[in-house]
């Protein structure tokens, strides 16, 4: 494409974008000038006249989204506000052109926009930027029918924030019933935007600006808030990302947390907001469903014997390896193991306290108790657990490490687990424990990780994970006492159900309809009944 044709395309795209936003800038008495104007220069002049006459923040935000084809930051909007209030319309038009050239990219300059003022936007970006994960909320969100349920309730346009660029890319459009990837900037306008999970670090500024300045109502479903309480236990990059996500959340209207523990975290954070003159969002606890996650399309509830991992090799570059003792990573899962197996899903971060778990397991092996430990971790760095390579593996301890699990892997591991352990120091939700319980598998966990109401502690044995003697005794009990395990399984069977429909309905009512939040202590359950793993569609 020649420079001239590129310039022509940029100009035409700018004109098209301005034509779309101009009607939203006009007051009731103004003539509808947008459609009549075709020339980009005329359109930018008309836009400048409007914003100089009425430099409302939301309108400036909208104009900046249109001029550059990307969402602005708060600093961009404040600069525009200054220019609109201290410049003539002609000066403002020139500044807008300069600013557009400064902020736009070659791609954004020729991008079209779609103003969304009659749909709820569901930002599912976090779902798309997380690969194989090991029990984080993203995986839960990825597979539970939240979005389809929203879709059932009202027409929803689902979009995601695309990394490293400031635009909303349509990810799932119910009109077409499929994920799409057309290069179109989705601009929410005086509507509701629901953000699922933690957005990418690159999106922090435009997301915060949109929540603060766009005039739309922002709401979020969150799983954890680790930075404040666990700054020393989580990786720096995750710390930075979540802190900046928190920064955007303070401009939201409503936040639903998936556990009471998480709600406590977020309430603590928002209670500090008056110090900066910000009206904090309302935070409620919306309990996760207790029914099993439905399987991903194409995954059968019936597991093939000897199934094994398919994506594992992609991550082996990060894996610990220490000469003679090669960790037994991603071995085929024996669906009829000789030994009772314990499953733990976590990561190498100190927060997950795998070192404490390995210590307790070693003590029990030393006692002569026979069992196999299956560790599912997203990544294992060299030297993460010196005892693992230096002592446990050379000693032949039956430890299996599973990286990059997918649902088939997890189902196989669930199927063989006598019980599961969550030895984590700090959990926002531990969705995987919810998943485990939905399969009638008992869980050993810290009581502070089970702050989800009595219904959620059914099947959970509480243990002080900081007390190695307590941890060892609890593991020993569940390995050697069938009655204790049966008792926990009975508890799970007798607890009430909380179906995904109920969860989605309550979530929608709060986040979108701004309905009164459900009483934290009175989460709706249905009578206990037989639960079946939904079959794959």
């Amino acid at each position: 494409m020649t420079d001239r044709s590129t310039a022509g395309l940029v100009e035409a795209s700018l004109a098209a974008r301005l034509r779309q936003v101009l009607p939203y800038l006009e007051g009731p008495g103004d003539c509808d000038s947008g459609p009549r104007l075709t020339d980009a220069g005329d359109l930018i002049d008309a836009t400048a006249r409007h914003v100089c006459a009425d430099p409302a923040t939301d309108k400036l935000w909208l104009v900046l989204a249109a001029t550059a084809g990307r969402l602005p930051t708060a600093g961009d909007v404040r600069e525009a506000h200054y220019r609109a209030e201290t410049s003539s319309p002609t000066q403002m038009a020139l500044w807008m052109l300069d600013d557009s050239a400064r902020r736009s990219t070659p791609a954004s300059a020729v991008r079209s926009i779609r103003l969304v003022d009659d749909h709820v936007l569901v930002d599912a970006g976090a779902r798309l930027h997380v690969g194989a994960s090991t029990g984080h909320a993203q995986r839960g969100l990825d597979r539970h029918p939240l979005v389809p349920d929203f879709d059932r309730l009202v027409a929803v346009l689902t979009a995601c924030w695309k990394n490293k660029d400031r635009y909303l890319r349509v990810a799932w459009d119910p009109t077409f019933g499929c994920w799409t990837a057309d290069d179109e900037l989705i601009v929410p306008w005086r509507t509701t935007v629901v953000v699922l999970g933690t957005t990418a670090l690159e999106m922090r500024d435009p997301l915060a600006a949109a929540a603060e300045m766009s005039g739309s109502t922002f709401a979020a479903l969150v799983d954890d808030n680790f930075p404040a309480a666990s700054g020393g236990l989580i990786p720096d990059e995750y710390l930075e990302q979540t802190v900046h996500h928190l920064n955007a959340l303070k401009h939201f209207s409503r936040v639903a947390a998936l556990s009471e523990a998480s709600a406590v975290d977020y309430r603590g954070f928002v209670s500090a907001m008056p110090a900066q003159g910000v009206r904090a969002p309302q935070v409620v606890y919306c309990a996760l469903a207790t029914d099993p996650f439905p399987p991903e399309p194409g995954i059968s509830a019936e597991l093939p014997q000897g199934c094994r991992y398919t994506r594992a090799q992609e991550k082996l570059g990060d894996t610990a390896s220490n000469g003679d003792s090669e960790p037994p990573i991603n071995q085929p899962i024996d669906l009829s193991p000789d030994l009772p197996t314990i499953l733990c899903v976590g990561a190498a971060d100190r927060r997950f306290n795998l070192a404490g778990l390995l210590c307790a397991a070693d003590l029990l092996w030393t006692e002569g108790i026979q069992f196999e430990l299956n560790l599912v971790v997203s990544k294992l760095g060299t030297g993460d657990f010196p005892p693992l390579n230096d002592r446990l593996l050379p000693a032949g301890r039956p430890i299996k490490i599973h990286l990059a699990t997918d649902q088939i892997d997890l189902e196989a591991l669930y199927a063989t687990a006598r019980f599961c352990i969550s030895a984590s120091n700090h959990e926002g939700m531990a969705i995987w424990t919810s998943e485990v319980l939905s399969r009638s598998i008992p869980v050993l966990s810290s009581p502070r990780n089970a702050w989800n109401g009595d219904r959620y502690t059914a099947g959970v044995m509480a243990v002080d994970i900081d007390d190695s003697h307590d941890l060892v005794a609890a593991i020993r009990l569940l390995l050697t006492d069938d009655v204790a395990v049966s008792h926990l399984r009975d508890e799970i069977a007798s607890r009430g159900r909380r179906p995904w429909d109920k969860f989605s309905d309550e979530l929608w009512s709060f986040l979108v309809d701004a309905a009164s939040p459900p009483d934290d202590r009175a989460v709706a359950f249905e009578p206990a009944g037989h639960q079946q793993l939904p079959s794959s569609s």
Binding site: D236, H244, G277
Partner: protein
């Protein structure tokens, strides 16, 4: 498997003697376990050390590893060692294995190490190294010179690499406590009448030894975020069987990270992780306390109760500034001392004090000023403050306005007397920060009798409660502009605000230092 006893008993090893000395320090610090131990005997010393470590108590492991390596032990090393002992490994072997693993058996040097028990250690590392006097450093110096007069107190800094504490040299103590100002300060305080602190007469010399705190009280009035300092502080707070008291300024990197520089978030979060193990935090204002209370409540989800948080409101007393050098004239005389722009003009002067970081909201001040200049109002605007993170947009806007002929200038590195002179010359000051733990420029301006336009929430509104201020929404340039216009154009209002400012009784540094001491050391909240 090398054991401790074997290592110490290796007579040909150059390190065996030093290691034995350190073992004696460790055993001596924890006291005899089962009857008297002869520390002269290597075998008995090893036995006593191994007996102490056999119970896998993290605190004793922390002390043992810290003393033997002459550096505050890493938490992971403590936990790994305890796990190993619980698995049945002999403690003597675990010690050696851990020291080897963390590279502490072959150091380049073997600094002397001592254990400090009892008394009160006051960590003033930054101000002992750095002569700068920003807000926090001023608080630390005012406090340290009073706390330092208590006979229980030892002022300390950190050894290179933040491996451990160390006593300060006389010169460092002088720098940390502003003793050159002390000599000219005739105001009450600094150990004067009414203070329970004795005058700080002379620092004790540092020995060069790495100092490991144990069963003591550690006070930190600084924002301890450098390098390994937060992790070391966390280790002390968690394992040293000591009381740890911190001065809490704000939680801005957590609650408003968009206004902090790149790279600030992670160190600050490590600092907060250390705060979680502290005993007490004296927040400098109710606003700061509200942030720390909010943060503390999140600790419940980790099963931690966190430190006790109390408001110990900062002093509002403004210490006398050093007089200007005789050779310096306001018009710009000899040397490079900056002069106050627009001095001697009849046009009203407005001053804005503070660094040009985004949180200080100086772009909104310029926006408001231009709204007024644009409509023909006459006044001069002087910013006094240093460059900071992301201050480029501020200076670009400043240049643009100057090129339009607007009366606006910026001063940096201004001495205290010039800042004081600016306040006294101004019709009003403007301090419309988006978030402050306290807002020292407000009390400084009021102490000079100068009205303040400030933000209508948080610590800034609190400091304005006794009058002398106009409150505005700092995110609304029109409100800022109208408030400035009212003060500079309405003599009656300006005089009323000046009268209110003059009537405000200052809260002294003596009072602050005493209340902070009482709370942080003795757990007595302010009355």
């Amino acid at each position: 498997m090398t054991t401790l006893r074997a290592l110490v008993g290796t007579s040909h090893s150059s390190r065996s003697a030093e290691l034995l000395d350190r073992l004696r320090v460790f055993v001596g610090a924890i006291g005899p376990l089962d009857g008297p131990t002869s520390l002269a005997d290597a075998d008995e010393t090893c036995s006593a050390a191994e007996a102490a470590l056999d119970g896998a108590r993290p605190e004793l492991w922390w002390l043992g590893l810290s003393v033997l390596s002459a550096r505050i032990a890493d938490t992971a090393a403590v936990e790994e060692s305890c796990h190993a002992v619980r698995r049945g490994s002999p403690p003597g072997a675990v010690v050696v294995d851990t020291l080897q693993r963390f590279g502490h058996l072959e150091p380049e040097s073997w600094p002397p190490v001592s254990v400090h028990r009892g008394g009160v250690l006051v960590d003033v590392d930054q101000v002992s190294r750095n002569p700068l006097g920003t807000g926090i450093q001023r608080v630390v110096r005012q406090t340290a010179r009073r706390w330092g007069g208590n006979p229980e107190t030892t002022l300390v800094g950190w050894a290179d690499g933040y491996v451990g504490l160390r006593k300060l040299s006389p010169a460092e103590v002088a720098q940390a406590t502003d003793q050159h100002i002390l000599a000219t300060d005739s105001s009450p305080g600094a150990g004067g009448p009414g203070s329970s602190f004795a005058p700080l007469t002379g620092p004790t010399g540092g020995s060069g030894a790495v100092l490991i705190p144990w069963r003591t009280t550690l006070l930190v009035a600084e924002l301890a975020i450098e390098d390994e300092r937060p992790s070391a502080l966390a280790g002390i707070a968690r394992f040293a069987r000591s009381s740890t008291g911190l001065v809490g300024y704000d939680c801005v990197p957590l609650t408003m990270p968009e206004t902090t520089g790149s790279g600030m978030v992670q160190p600050y979060m490590r600092y907060l992780a250390a705060c979680a193990y502290a005993t007490r935090i004296a927040a400098i204002s109710e606003t700061a306390a509200s942030e720390f209370h909010g943060w503390r409540s999140t600790l419940a989800s980790r099963g931690m109760s966190g430190p006790e948080v109390q408001t110990v409101e900062l002093a509002t007393e403004v210490p006398p500034s050093a007089p200007p050098p005789e050779s310096t004239s306001m018009g710009g005389g000899r040397g490079h001392a900056p002069a106050l722009p627009f001095a001697g003009s009849d046009i009203p002067l407005v001053v804005a004090v503070g660094s040009h970081e985004p949180r200080k909201n100086h772009m909104a001040v310029l926006h408001a000023a231009e709204l007024l200049w644009h409509r023909g109002e006459e006044f001069s605007l002087v910013f006094i403050g240093g460059n900071s993170w992301n201050s480029e947009p501020f200076f670009d806007r400043l240049d643009e306005l100057r090129s339009k002929g607007r009366r606006v200038e910026s001063l940096s590195a201004a001495p205290d007397h010039l800042v004081s002179s600016a306040y006294r010359s101004a019709a009003c000051s403007v301090f419309v920060s988006l978030h402050e733990g306290f807002g020292l420029p407000i009390v400084e301006s009021l102490a000079c009798g100068t009205p303040v336009v400030t933000s209508d929430y948080g610590a800034m509104a609190h400091n304005a409660r006794h009058g002398g201020c106009l409150l505005v929404d700092p995110r609304d340039p029109h409100q800022i502009a109208e408030a400035i216009s009212r003060v500079i154009n309405h003599d009656g209002l300006r005089h009323k605000l000046r009268s209110e400012a003059a009537a405000i009784a200052a809260r002294t540094w003596d009072t602050y230092a005493q209340e902070a001491w009482d709370f942080l050391v003795h757990g007595r909240p302010p009355r």
